[in-house]
Amino acid sequence: MSTVDQAAVTRVKDAVAARGNGAVLSATQPHPDTLRFVIEKNAMRAAVAGLVKELRARFLISVGTDQRPLTGDFSILHLFSLDQDHLYVLLESSVSEKDPWIESITDLVPGANWAEREFRDAIGVRPDGHPDPRRLLLADDWPEGVFPLRRDFPYNYKPPRAENVRPQMLEPPKGASVLPIGPFFPVLEEPAYWRMFVEGETVVGCDTRIFYNHRGIEKLGDSVMTYNEIPYLAERICGICGFIHSTCYCQAVEKAAGIEVPRRARYIRTIMLELERIHSHLLWLGIAGHIIGFETILMQTWRVREPVMWLCEEISGNRKTYGMNTVGGLRRNLANQIMPKLLETLGRVEKETVAIRDAVIGDTTLQARTKGVGTLTNEWAKQVCVVGPPARASGVAIDARVDHPYAAYDEIPPRIATEEAGDTWARVLVRIAELLDSIRLVRDALAAIPPGPICADIKEEIPPGRFGLSVVEAPRGEAVHFVLTGGDNRPYRWRVRAPTYPNLQAMPAMVEGANIADVPITLGSLDPCFSCTERLETIDRTTNEVRVYSGAELLEMSRRRVCPGGAR
């Protein structure tokens, strides 16, 4: 277990106290790796500035909670991670119902942009001075002044339909044309609407409207489901990293309730998490190849991936949505007779992955299509708090498995693979290195797996009013779950942040100056999943001429890297 340095704790306390100017109401250490400060809302901005500027803290997410039934106020939490010191820092402020606003921190931390807009939409606390206060979470036809995450809002309320609503989008810069992508598009796993501002075939900026697929699971979690039903809901947040979300949720509850998970359960969780990373990275590699028209790599990586899926089915009873996690441990043991088969399959996957890597690494067509495409600079990656392979490919060496060890990663540490270039090719290299390291991790875990129980015996109710914060490194980056325990056998607040949430915020910087044909692979290199496409249209503003491209045409464009009217 990585120990938390007491000097770091003191340093954080001093920094917050110095900037807070006596407005720090309490400073506690509820878990060994977590510091919690309750600050008056006037001093929040100064405290955040202290953390970010002096201690290089990385912003995770904001949580807005309606605590009116308990304290009479709303509470706004900003979560930070000090990766070098293995510490989480929580800054909490209460905001009165009569005067629901708090100073925005987006100019200090650009990555807080969406998080602040989200708590404004969800509980109605206005981030004052926010540079882009448009709607984010709620649908465009949702009535004003109705906040779904407030406690007095019933979970099954359906607002009346509104007519003639459209998303509020930014105006393109003068002289630029608009190229809408979405809401349905092949490289996005959920409906998302992008407007690329183009001059000729060069992208000069972009705007986005997302959250078309918002399913209100956080509301369900705190009003309908119970502690042990939520893992199955959490598992369905993502089709690829389901086990990651259920593990993350369970760990947050276990941390809140002080439940000690048996060592064997932590090892099996590690094995399943790594198997998920293996098949996710193989899937990504195939799809990245597909986008740029390199079908060989798609067919071959998916062929290699399939035995891993069968293995997961044999271990858990299902290819995906394993249903293995429960609060306190696991429901299904790893049978000893599967282990030789597991090792054999992994050996084969490793051999074939290495063969594919050696073949494609010298392929100049692949390099020509990915090198220098979608570059994310180290500085901006830190500013927008990008996570996972996109961050590591830009030289930001963060990995929740190392920085905040969970499951069995304290005993079998992973190696962080980093690249400096920050382009799509660097992301390919990082993911292949991680894939091979995951195979090693599963082998190490299988060699060291201890016997024993797989689930903690929980006799008492989970006490209300405690909180747990858990971060799990998903294939796409880190997933963050925050749980505030409540009565009625269910959480009072459950906050989920998926890894694509911060990564998508880096998109505008990545596509700026790019060619239109590079947009699909740039989106794809962030590893959102891929659904079927509808269409893409370009509008030339000067002539109002509309040209509609089908998905097939666009993919073709991406593969040939030609553009209408372009010279390439």
Partner: protein
């Protein structure tokens, strides 16, 4: 460049054909697969533990008469998590190996079970016969802090 193309071609050639003949040839799931739920009506004594823990609320319990408890399974919404199987004290409910459940008729995905119960002399509510009470306390409802619905 040429070398890597050659290597790629070799990988493809070496792999050969990997697709399965399903659905022309039957495909057996792996042991431990979680498929369609089956219920052994003779074993069920109506404790309702399964309805208590079902995350998707597929299992609905209603005490229609004093002596009769109806358990309905709307398993078209089933997520095949297997919690019901896990908590059933009599192992009356099980997840089978059956996965080919596509149908045109939603009624095919509905099951209804009626269990005769012993009504309480004081409150009139249905209970399993007294001898089974101990068994019931053993599994389905021990889940309280971990999974019971308050």
């Amino acid at each position: 460049m040429f070398l890597s193309k050659l290597r790629e071609a070799l990988i493809c050639l070496k792999a050969g054909r990997v697709t399965l003949d399903y659905p022309l040839a039957p495909q057996e799931p792996k042991p431990g697969f979680r498929g369609k739920i089956t219920i052994d009506a003779d074993l069920c004594f109506g404790c309702g533990g399964c309805a208590n823990v079902c995350p998707a609320n597929v299992i609905v319990l209603s005490d229609t008469e004093q002596h009769r408890r109806t358990i309905e399974f709307y398993w078209r919404r089933c997520t095949y998590c297997g919690r019901c199987e896990e908590v059933c004290p009599e192992k009356a409910i099980r997840l089978s190996q059956q996965f080919e459940t596509a149908t045109n008729d939603p009624q095919d995905m509905y099951m209804r079970l009626e269990v005769f119960m012993g009504p309480c002399q004081r409150c009139g509510r249905c209970f399993p016969p007294p001898t089974a009470l101990d068994r019931m306390m053993n599994t389905g409802f021990r889940e309280g802090p971990r999974g019971g619905r308050a």
